[in-house]
C-alpha cells in the first residue's frame, strides 16, 4: 500500500485524489437523497399497512352517534368522547364467554390433531424410504391447490347425511385436515435439512428406529412445528365460510359467527360494535404473531424454497 501511495505522490497524481474526495461528497449526497426517499417510501407503506387498524381502534372507542356523522376530524386521534361502551356491550351483554369457549375448544382440538398428524407425516416422508413417495408428495401438492371453499358445498351434504352438521366434530374434522397438508409439507422440508447424526447416535443408545426419530427430530424441528401450530390455529380461529354454513344453534356459535350476529344482525351495520369485536379478536392473534415472528418468517422461507 505504501508503495502505491509513494508512487502516486512521486508521479504527481495528487490532483486525482482531490477529484476523488469531491466525487465522494457527491456520492454521499446522492446516498443521502436515496436514503431520504427510502424512508419516505417505507413510511408511506407503513401508513398504508396500519391505517385500517388505527381507524377501527378509534371507531371501537367512539359511541354510535358520532359514526353516522364521520368526518375528517374523527380520523384524528384526540377526542373527549371516548368510551368503552362497545367493549362492555360485547363482553357483558352477549354470550361472549360462550363464543370464546367454543372457539377455543374448536381451535385447540383441531390444532392438536392437525399438528400431531403433520409431525408423523412430515418425519415419515423425510426419513423413511416409502414406496411411491414421489407420487404421494405430488398428490399432496396438487391437493393443496384445491381451495378449501370448493369443499364447503360437498361437505355440507356429506355432513348432513352423517348427521355431523351443527356439531363440534363436524367442524374439527375439516379444520384439522385443512392444516395437515401444508404443515406436513413444511415439517418435511425442515427435517430434510437436519443432520442424521443425532438420530443415528440415539439408535446406538438403544432406542428403536422410530423412537429415535421422534425423540430426536421433534425437538429439533421446533421452529417448523411452532409455525405449523400458528397456522393450524389461525385457520379455525378466523373461519367463517365453513362455520357460518354448518353451525345453526346459538349455543355452538364461534366468535366469528357471534361477531356477524351482533354487528350485522340489524338492518344497519353497527360499526362501533364491529370494530370493538375486531380489536378483541385481533389482539390474541397479534400477540401470537409478535411472539412467534422469528419462527413465522424462518418457517415461511423454508416452506417456499429450500
Amino acid at each position: 500500500m505504501q508503495n502505491i501511495d509513494e508512487t502516486v505522490k512521486k508521479t504527481g497524481f495528487g490532483k486525482k485524489y482531490e477529484n476523488t474526495t469531491k466525487l465522494n461528497t457527491h456520492y454521499r449526497r446522492i446516498r443521502r437523497i436515496k436514503l431520504g426517499i427510502s424512508y419516505l417510501l417505507l413510511t408511506a407503506i407503513c401508513i398504508y399497512s396500519i391505517f385500517p387498524i388505527y381507524y377501527i381502534f378509534l371507531t371501537s372507542l367512539s359511541p354510535l352517534a358520532n359514526l353516522t356523522s364521520t368526518n375528517f376530524s374523527t380520523l384524528l386521534p384526540f377526542h373527549d368522547y371516548y368510551s368503552f361502551n362497545n367493549y362492555y356491550g360485547i363482553i357483558f351483554k352477549n354470550p361472549f364467554p360462550l363464543w370464546l369457549e367454543n372457539t377455543l375448544i374448536l381451535t385447540t382440538t383441531s390444532t392438536l390433531i392437525g399438528v400431531g398428524l403433520s409431525i408423523t407425516t412430515g418425519i415419515a416422508f423425510s426419513r423413511y424410504r416409502i414406496p411411491g413417495k414421489r407420487a404421494l408428495l405430488y398428490m399432496l401438492l396438487v391437493l393443496s391447490m384445491f381451495p378449501f371453499t370448493i369443499m364447503v358445498i360437498p361437505f355440507y351434504f356429506m355432513f348432513s347425511q352423517l348427521h355431523l352438521l351443527d356439531t363440534y366434530i363436524g367442524l374439527i374434522i375439516p379444520y384439522s385436515a385443512g392444516a395437515v397438508i401444508f404443515s406436513s409439507w413444511l415439517i418435511k422440508n425442515y427435517v430434510d435439512n437436519l443432520p442424521r447424526d443425532y438420530e443415528e447416535a440415539a439408535t446406538l443408545d438403544g432406542y428403536s428406529r422410530t423412537g429415535a426419530l421422534f425423540r430426536v427430530l421433534v425437538p429439533m424441528a421446533k421452529p417448523a412445528i411452532l409455525l405449523a401450530v400458528v397456522l393450524a390455529f389461525m385457520g379455525p380461529y378466523t373461519d367463517y365460510a365453513l362455520a357460518g354454513q354448518f353451525i345453526t344453534s346459538t349455543k355452538l356459535y364461534t366468535m366469528a359467527i357471534g361477531m356477524y350476529y351482533i354487528s350485522q344482525g340489524t338492518i344497519t351495520v353497527n360499526y362501533g360494535v364491529y370494530s370493538a369485536f375486531a380489536i378483541l379478536m385481533g389482539i390474541p392473534i397479534f400477540i401470537l404473531f409478535f411472539f412467534f415472528q422469528k419462527y413465522i418468517v424462518a418457517g415461511f422461507s423454508i416452506a417456499t424454497y429450500k
Binding site: 446516498r31 436514503l35 427510502s38 417505507l42 407503506i45 407503513c46 399497512s49 396500519i50 385500517p52 387498524i53 381507524y55 359514526l67 364521520t70 375528517f72 374523527t74 380520523l75 408423523t120 407425516t121 415419515a124 416422508f125 423413511y128 424410504r129 416409502i130 414406496p131 414421489r134 404421494l136 408428495l137 405430488y138 396438487v142 391437493l143 391447490m145 384445491f146 381451495p147 378449501f148 371453499t149 370448493i150 369443499m151 358445498i153 360437498p154 361437505f155 356429506m158 375439516p174 384439522s176 385436515a177 397438508i181 446406538l204 438403544g206 389461525m234 378466523t238 367463517y240 366469528a256 364491529y274 375486531a278 385481533g282 392473534i285 397479534f286 418468517v297 415461511f300 422461507s301 424454497y305
Partner: protein
C-alpha cells in the same frame, strides 16, 4: 458390549429396500384426505352431471353433460374467467413487485429502524383476514368511509369504490395487496439476505448503482426463487375466495366474481348445486393445466426431491 454389537449389527444389516411398514405412519393422513378431499372431489364431479338443485333436491337425476354445455356456452363463464385472470394476474404482479421493492428498501445498507418498519408492515397479517376485509369495506364506503372523507376534503371527489365497474375490481385488488404485502416483503427479505455480502461489496467496488446491482446480482441469483414465489402466489390468488366475496359480493353485476365465488353464489344464493359444481371443476382444471404447463418449462416441482 455384546448387546451393542448386536444392535450395531442389526442397524447395519437391516437396511431394507423399502420401508413399506412405515406407510402406516401416513395412513391416518391419507384416510383423512380420502374422506375430506377425494370423496368431496368425486362428489363434486358426480353432482356436476346431475340436475341437483332446490327444485330437484330429493329427486335429482343424471342429465349427462347438460350443465357443462350450459355453463360453457353462457357469456357468464367468459366474464368470470376474465375477472379471475385480471384479479389473480394484477394481484400477483402488484404484490410480488411491491413486496420485492419494499424488501430491497429495507435490506439497503444504512437504513435504521428496520425492526420498526418490519413490525409495522406485519400488522395487517396479524389480524384475521375476514375481519380486515370487512373493515376495508367500511373504509371504502361511498358516503361514510374514511377514504372518501379524506378524498373529498382534499380533492372534492367521492368515488364509489365498491359499487362501480372498474373501481370495484381495483378495490378488490388493492385490498388483496394490503393483506399480502407483509408475506411477500418477508419472503423476499429472507431471500435477499441469503445473498453473500461479498457480491455487494464487489459491485460497489465496480461502481454499480442500485439499479444495476439489482439487475446484475439480485435478479440473476434469485430468479428461481422469484419464479417459485410468483407462481405459488398466482395459484393462491386464483382461488382467493374471501376478498371478492366479502368486499363486493361479486357486485356490481358479476364484475368482481371469480370462478370460486361464483360457484359459491350459484350454490348458496341460486341453490343450483350442479352448476356450482361445474364452476368449481373449471376453476381447478384451469389451475391444474396452468401448473402442468409452468412445471414443464420451469421444473418448479424439483423442490420435491
Amino acid at each position: 458390549m455384546v448387546e451393542v454389537e448386536k444392535q450395531m449389527d442389526s442397524a447395519n444389516k437391516v437396511k431394507p429396500k423399502s420401508d413399506a411398514i412405515y406407510l402406516l405412519f401416513l395412513l391416518p393422513v391419507f384416510v383423512v384426505l380420502g374422506f375430506l378431499d377425494f370423496y368431496p372431489i368425486a362428489w363434486t364431479i358426480n353432482i356436476s352431471l346431475t340436475n341437483f338443485s332446490e327444485a330437484h333436491f330429493f329427486t335429482y337425476s343424471y342429465v349427462g353433460l347438460t350443465n357443462f354445455y350450459n355453463v360453457l356456452t353462457s357469456p357468464t363463464l367468459t366474464t368470470v374467467i376474465m375477472n379471475n385472470i385480471v384479479f389473480a394476474g394484477s394481484s400477483i404482479l402488484l404484490m410480488a413487485g411491491l413486496g420485492f421493492g419494499v424488501a430491497l428498501l429495507i435490506t439497503q445498507p444504512g437504513i435504521r429502524g428496520k425492526t420498526v418498519f418490519r413490525s409495522l408492515i406485519l400488522v395487517p397479517w396479524a389480524f384475521p383476514a375476514f375481519i380486515t376485509i370487512l373493515i376495508w369495506k367500511n373504509l371504502l364506503d361511498q358516503h361514510f368511509g374514511a377514504v372518501n372523507q379524506v378524498l373529498s376534503l382534499l380533492f372534492h371527489v367521492s368515488p364509489n369504490w365498491t359499487g362501480s365497474v372498474p373501481l370495484a375490481m381495483i378495490s378488490v385488488i388493492l385490498v388483496n395487496l394490503w393483506l399480502s404485502l407483509a408475506y411477500y416483503t418477508f419472503v423476499y427479505t429472507a431471500s435477499l439476505q441469503s445473498i453473500p455480502q461479498e457480491l455487494y461489496d464487489a459491485a460497489q467496488m465496480d461502481g454499480y448503482g442500485t439499479l444495476s446491482r439489482v439487475r446484475n446480482i439480485v435478479i440473476p441469483l434469485l430468479s428461481r426463487q422469484i419464479a417459485f414465489i410468483t407462481i405459488f402466489g398466482f395459484i393462491f390468488a386464483w382461488s382467493n375466495f374471501y376478498i371478492p366475496y366479502l368486499l363486493t359480493s361479486g357486485e356490481p353485476g358479476i364484475s368482481t366474481q371469480i370462478l370460486i365465488t361464483y360457484s359459491y353464489t350459484e350454490a348458496f344464493s341460486y341453490l343450483s348445486y350442479g352448476v356450482a359444481a361445474v364452476y368449481s371443476i373449471i376453476s381447478v382444471l384451469i389451475l391444474l393445466v396452468m401448473v402442468i404447463i409452468v412445471n414443464h418449462y420451469s421444473k418448479m416441482m424439483s423442490i420435491l426431491y
